[in-house]
Symmetry: C2
Subunit: 214 residues, 2 copies
DNA sequence: CGAGGTATTGACACACATCAATAGTTGTGG
DNA sequence: CCACAACTATTGATGTGTGTCAATACCTCG
């Protein structure tokens, strides 16, 4: 179990492709270009497996940066391999979770490729909100977003100045309310309409999943 | 084994989340918005498993469209589940392939989020070229790109008119040469520099992979 | 040969970027 | 607990990459 304070780099792209479990705090997974621009490809919340995409490569493709103070632990690939040997059911569930992550990336790509700033921001806020609801079913319509405008801009593929204006516009339209880092979602329906994505429902306990006792 | 001719929709988002194997031809996986705009999230080449990201959901998230005449076959999820029960090694390899696809999506997101049109186009052409080289190690510096400008635009998150101008500029700069659908890569190094991505090397036969005989 | 799809080119509009200045917030040390 | 410094957010002015509309030329295939 290791701790990192806000803004510390947990592992840099090009480093050894370790896999981590995030116990507390938020972490950004991002890639960067030579000119210094960065794109955040995933915001990790507690309970997330981090770094798994790079595990088949010789070097990590993404940089993991602590967005808040965090605690993490390293996962040995041997442990995952053992799980694949001993529990086909859990292995298949891990496989399906990786596929879910692909869907999330596909939605992010659609959003960044085809939607305007306000719609991207709505989609991002809803994505975070939906994840918090998943962790805690009676989460209120409000949350702390511990990212700076620069970091949000790197998530949305915009620039901080424009994110500031876009936030103001969403607030002025009565869709959200802001108080420092806290976001209140005022008009959830309209936000969802802006985001442009349907709510996807997971197939729990598909008949074809391998049984628990192999 | 089923056949589809060019531009035919193999399965639409919202349909039953089937999984397919692509035997011949090219297929686009895309998502669409209410206003009619579309984003292609993956161009499938022969040998690709298609539709896997949606297999944990009750409805498919992406639309599969034939870019050329294609032949495909449906994969039963029970077959994949059986593979997970009977061969931990192959299961783990499928897991790692899904993770590789996440990396590819991350790169696409970085490209669309942070790079200009010309750089996105360079990255896309190189991505296709690298895949063709993977299928056939002595592939020449040239290939047929069976997409219309509209479809390429939907890949890049641009519009057809702008893709046309961007293509012309790449050609004028001497980076590529075009003859109808055929693309010749003239200056591979400069294209790679534009794209902004390192070449990633896969870790073959990692020590921790489960053995073939369980 | 004709028709529908596809590509090119030009003119103009707009979302977002960039630069810059100010104000507000947070953290730190005395 | 205050005071200062560093970071962060806001706002304005202006530039530019890409979108949009439209007209023409070009391929492809029946």
């Amino acid at each position: 179990m290791a701790s990192y304070s806000r803004d510390k780099v947990i592992r840099h792209e090009g480093d050894q492709p370790d896999v981590f479990m995030l116990h507390s705090g938020w972490v950004a997974s991002s890639g960067s270009f030579d000119d210094g621009s960065r794109q955040v490809v995933k915001v990790h919340l507690p309970g997330d497996l981090m770094g798994a995409p790079s595990m088949g490569y010789t070097a990590a493709a993404d940089t993991l940066t602590a967005l808040t103070d965090v605690t993490i632990s390293k996962i040995a690939p041997e442990g995952i391999a053992r799980l694949f040997r001993e529990s086909p059911r859990l292995a298949m569930i891990m496989f399906l979770l990786a596929q879910e992550e692909r869907i999330i990336l596909m939605e992010r790509l659609m959003s960044v490729g085809r939607r305007r700033g306000a719609q991207r921001l709505s989609a991002f806020l809803l994505h975070i909100y939906d994840r918090l609801c998943l962790l805690d079913p009676d989460w209120p319509l409000s949350f702390e977003l511990p990212l700076t405008l620069d970091q949000i801009a790197d998530v949305l593929g915009l620039h901080a100045v424009h994110v500031s204006r876009t936030f103001s516009r969403l607030e002025q339209q009565g869709l959200i309310h802001r108080d420092h880092k806290r976001i209140d979602l005022i008009n959830l329906d309209e936000l969802r309409k802006q985001a442009g994505f349907p709510r996807r429902t997971l197939m729990r306990n598909a008949a074809w999943l391998p049984p628990s006792a192999p």
